[in-house]
Amino acid sequence: MSAGTLKCNDIRVSFGGLKAVDGVSYEFRPGKLTGIIGPNGAGKTTLMNALSGHAATSGGSVILGGRDVTRLPVHERTRAGLGRSFQMTKIFADMSVLENLEIAAFAHRYRVQPFWAPARRFRAVRERAEAVLEEIGLFRLARRPAGTLSHGDQRALEVGLALLSDPSVLLLDEPLAGVGRDQLDGAVALIEKIVRGRTVLLIEHNMDVVMKVSDELVVMVRGRILSAGSPAGIRADKAVRAAYLGEED
């Protein structure tokens, strides 16, 4: 794993007449965690979708590791080193936790999926999946159908799926959404553990958490970057406070 570079040049995404992302240019700091905050509807998730290929851009470009990936489909961006977790949990609910991770491991390891032998024969893939299982702390739940896990554990699995390809750039969209108070500390510790050495973008509404884990903060309002800087600097920024107070409360 090496810290990847991620740069956006004047990214624009429109839904009909609505400019969800309206010209965002930013170079994310390699190997650092950048928190993205802003009121609801600011375009945070849409920006992330544009970066990962889930939303079509109407302008601008995405540069991943020095390569223009703006026109690449989702799976090619994943292969280029981009990992992502989703705001709404997208796991394979009917499959076991281990199978979920194995599916991710096969996707990562093979361009053409092997069809000549049963999946269980692939030892290396199993071991890779088990290693991530250990890392996200779900080893004891390996055989459980993923859909029966607690919400917090499902969020951890969601992150684990993104982690399996060992991405150099990791996009985390509200990994803590809906995680109960009692599981919050563990979840934050997990995030801090896995992000080390990667370029990470984190969307998160819990201000205490964002301030704690971020190296840098980007504040988005109405599809644009309002302000960017260190957490301490952002905390003191009058314009940021005004944007938040004006729109949310």
Partner: protein
């Protein structure tokens, strides 16, 4: 997990018992019925790779089935090719047509995919019935489709041909069992459960769906050729949309997404057809009734009885 293994083993036993029982019954009635079941079962397990595993509701599989039959028939009747080569050509023909259809149909998904496959298949049916009469025999069809000439065995004897069909069926079933448990099969299941996530993990979703469709086309092609030679006859009726509908009913009745369920679905369908058609010409309506009842009370088909999946419904896969 163990329930799954035991259930699958039981289903396998039922199918094996059916195959053996048909052989033990003196005369040809038993083997004739089960021959038909085995050929359609091959079609159905191939169809289920697309329908039950990858989660694409194709309503155009009749085209693949019928074209496979016609490719083999034409090569044997008009060009004197031997049976085994013609069978291989039917597989290739089915696969190639599946590729061609997928190029158009996979531009859309969900219901639109179903409708587009239906439209494309009907187009082929109409062409076969009229324009391509030279190759298809038009609505009269082509009679005298040959059977294999192998090892000096007389396969025009239905009991001998039965053994040939059992061998092809077992080989096709074994290959499909492997495909479904392979990483390829798992990837298809992942796509069905959540295609957005599967793509994000790095799977080329379209390529995988297309591969499944092509494999399914090869199965349909082979089974179409086998049906033509079993009946000594082929007509555009094999290409008709009702054939596509039949295979959907068989898969759902048996339990879509399971390896052996569709085989049992075919068996029940053909048994009902055989029995009911002796009493009434409205047998198809009665099968429809059975189908409706099954979708209400047996959500996972016959396989659900064996695998212990009742009416609880599957957990969401969001």
């Amino acid at each position: 997990m163990t329930r799954r293994i035991v259930g699958t083993a039981l289903m396998g036993l039922v199918i094996a018992a059916m195959i053996v029982a048909a052989w033990l019954v003196p005369g040809e009635q038993g083997v004739n019925l089960v021959s038909l079941i085995l050929v359609w079962a091959l079609f159905a397990i191939g169809f289920d790779l697309v329908f039950g595993v990858a989660g694409m509701m194709s309503f155009g599989h009749a085209a693949l089935f019928g074209v496979g039959g016609y490719v083999a028939t034409n090569l044997m009747v008009f060009h004197g090719l031997d049976f085994m080569s013609a069978l291989a050509a039917a597989a290739v023909g089915g696969a190639l047509l599946a590729f061609g259809l997928s190029v158009f149909a996979m531009r859309v998904s969900g219901l639109f995919f179903s409708l587009l496959t239906l439209a494309l298949a009907q187009m082929i049916y109409v062409l076969a019935s009229n324009r391509l009469r030279h190759w298809t025999g038009g609505l009269d069809g082509i009679a005298g489709v040959p059977r294999p000439a192998l090892l000096g065995v007389d396969f025009y004897d239905n009991r001998n041909y039965y053994l040939f069909l059992v061998a092809v069926f077992v080989a096709g079933l074994a290959l499909m069992a492997l495909l479904r448990t392979s990483p390829f099969g798992r990837a298809l299941r992942a796509i069905q459960a959540n295609d957005v996530r599967a793509a994000q993990l790095g799977y080329n979703v379209n390529r995988l769906r297309q591969s499944a469709f092509i494999v399914s086309g090869a199965y349909a092609g082979v089974s179409g050729a086998l049906l033509a030679s079993l009946m000594f006859y082929i007509s555009p009726q094999m290409l008709h949309w009702t054939t596509s509908g039949d295979v959907v009913i068989m898969a759902v009745l048996g339990g879509k997404g399971t390896l052996l369920g569709p085989v049992l679905g075919v068996a029940l369908f053909e048994l009902l057809k055989e029995e009911l058609s002796q009493y009434t010409q409205y047998w198809y309506g009665l099968i429809g009734l059975v189908f409706i009842l099954a979708t209400i009370f047996l959500r996972h088909g016959i396989a659900g009885l064996f695998l212990g999946r009742g009416d609880e419904g599957k957990g969401g896969s969001s």
